[in-house]
């Protein structure tokens, strides 16, 4: 686990206790980072909100779609393929998931 995700984990745990309601943005970010960790590039750049998924990581388009499927089930949303195609960064992915959840 990277320092970034470790820090996130702590913050998330804290937030859960404080808020004890719906999924937080930190939780979504943490889950995305965990899903993307196996695809971290060799230069050791941490995965952050601005990370461009298809460029900064060693993940191919099929693996992105598989990861999205995992996130869909984790957060109980469906992200259509055409929407996935428009998502570039980790931030955008997190925002999409939160927006879809809010709509439910």
């Amino acid at each position: 686990m990277t320092d970034a995700t470790g820090a996130l984990l702590l913050r998330t745990a804290h937030k859960r206790i404080v808020e004890n309601d719906d999924v937080t943005r930190d939780e979504v970010m943490l889950e995305i980072c965990q899903q993307l960790e196996p695809f971290q590039s060799d230069d050791g750049q941490p995965i952050v909100g601005a990370t461009v998924i298809s460029k900064d990581l060693t993940i191919d388009s099929l693996a992105v779609m598989d990861m999205v499927m995992e996130l869909e089930d984790r957060f109980d949303v469906s992200i259509p393929m055409n929407v996935v195609a428009e998502i570039h960064t980790v931030d955008e992915l997190a925002d999409t998931i939160l927006a879809l959840r809010a709509r439910n």
Binding site: D60, S61, L62, A63, M65, D66, M69, E72, D73, D76, V77, S78, I79, P80, M81, N82, N104
Partner: protein, 408 residues
């Protein structure tokens, strides 16, 4: 940026593949001798990668029918059916396929790829929802790109995953079309169709099933998984191909929907391409007759051969797809091992397919074997021996351990 720069990654990977000395994607069959043998690199090879499930490519009655059709009607139709008209045989073939399934309507396409591409992309449009299995064939994925419908993938062969996605759509307006395959082309596994159909019924979704690899091989009459799972009536659209069991090329879709024929003037993959030539239509009609009359026997041969190869490879320690199927996928640890293994098999006179990422699900590297009713047990036993030898040599298989009785 040059036109080809975007393919740099693929070019590198392809260069790696070619370092093995043979290019698996540009194999030349110098002469095809029979459904199970061809000359490749000047050498007679056993064919175990041609999807020729019933071995009908050299059936004398199919060949005769094709030759007669050429003499009677020429080599090609030189245009699409909406422009040049249909030949009587096109219409007869469609009637015969519809009858074969007990469905009211059938449309024939020039290739199986076009059947999926055309039908799926036309059935759903903006405001509709298309739900596809994650391991769907490229023709299904390409259809997704041609429709304005929202496309959602569900986990391969996982009815609960489909259920969750249909549930999330809630009461949103719009049709739901679920696309499944009878047998998946890489690992030879069949869909849990009965369970999928239950889920679709629960949410009022339409079912389209592609029986490309299951026509002939499954079901009492060879209609495919929709028949063997007992849900033919619940499958609104059945797609299939002529290029595997029927030994030619082309595709079809059958349905009971009363308005189905409107697809003939809305489906671009049908409208803007030349119709199948007379020889193809004639040999396919004859091959379909064989499926009806001799299907049971050919199916038996095919599945006996599946058991011989699948069980024989498992016994030697190979890691295979999850179940018996006319396609047997052999898992190998990585791309280069798969290519090396494939090359060694070719050198030993056995042709199979090699399937590597990105063409495979979950990034797996596979040797893809497809069986034929015409394979002999000797041919397959020989193949298992050859593969076992290569597997040991390449370190894919552990040297055989002696099992001590009573201990595990």
């Amino acid at each position: 940026m040059g036109l080809f720069d975007r393919h740099a990654g693929l070019l590198d990977a392809y260069r790696d593949v070619r370092t093995t000395g043979a290019d698996p994607f540009q194999i030349r069959m110098e002469r095809v001798l029979s459904p199970t043998e061809a000359i490749i690199n000047g050498k007679k090879c056993l064919l175990v990668g041609t999807n020729n499930y019933f071995g009908l490519t050299f059936d004398p009655s199919c060949m005769e029918a094709a030759i007669e059709a050429i003499r009677a009607e020429g080599t090609g139709t030189t245009g699409s059916r909406i422009a040049n008209g249909s030949y009587s045989e096109h219409v007869l073939l469609e009637q015969e396929i519809a009858e074969f399934y007990g469905k009211k309507h059938c449309m024939v396409f020039t290739t199986g790829y076009q059947a999926n591409l055309g039908v799926i992309s036309t059935l759903v449009a903006q405001g509709d929802f298309l739900l596809i299995d994650a391991d769907s064939h490229a023709s299904i994925y390409d259809a997704c790109k041609m429709t304005q419908a929202e496309v959602v993938r569900f986990k391969h062969n996982d009815p609960a995953s489909l259920d969750a996605r249909l549930r999330r759509l809630g009461d949103k307006p719009g049709n739901r079309l679920v696309v499944l395959e009878g047998i998946y082309s890489m690992l030879g596994d069949a869909a849990p169709l009965k369970e999928f159909v239950e889920v679709c019924k629960k949410y009022g979704a339409y079912v389209l099933i592609d029986e490309a690899h299951s026509l002939g091989s499954l079901g009492e009459h060879g209609r495919g998984l929709c028949e063997s799972a007992g849900v033919l009536d619940d499958c609104h659209f059945v797609v299939g191909t002529f290029s595997k069991t029927l030994g030619a090329i082309g595709g079809y879709c059958v349905s009971n929907d009363p308005d189905f024929d409107i697809l003939r003037v809305t489906t671009r993959a049908y409208m803007f391409t030349a119709s199948p030539p007379p020889s193809i239509v004639a040999s396919v009609r004859q091959a379909l007759r064989i499926v009806t009359t001799r299907g049971k026997e050919l199916r038996q041969h095919l599945w006996d051969n599946v058991a011989t190869l699948y069980d024989g490879l498992v016994e030697q320690g190979f890691k295979l797809g999850p179940e018996h199927g006319p396609v047997v996928g052999v898992h190998l640890p990585d791309r280069m091992t798969a290519i090396g293994f494939w090359r060694a098999m070719l050198d030993a006179g056995i042709y199979v397919n090699v399937a590597v990422p990105p063409a495979t699900p979950n990034g797996v590297s596979l040797l893809r074997c497809s069986l034929c009713a015409a394979h002999t047990k000797e041919q397959l036993t020989h193949m298992i021996e050859v593969m076992t030898g290569i597997g040991r040599q390449m370190g894919v298989l552990q040297p055989k351990l002696r099992v001590v009785g009573g201990q595990r």
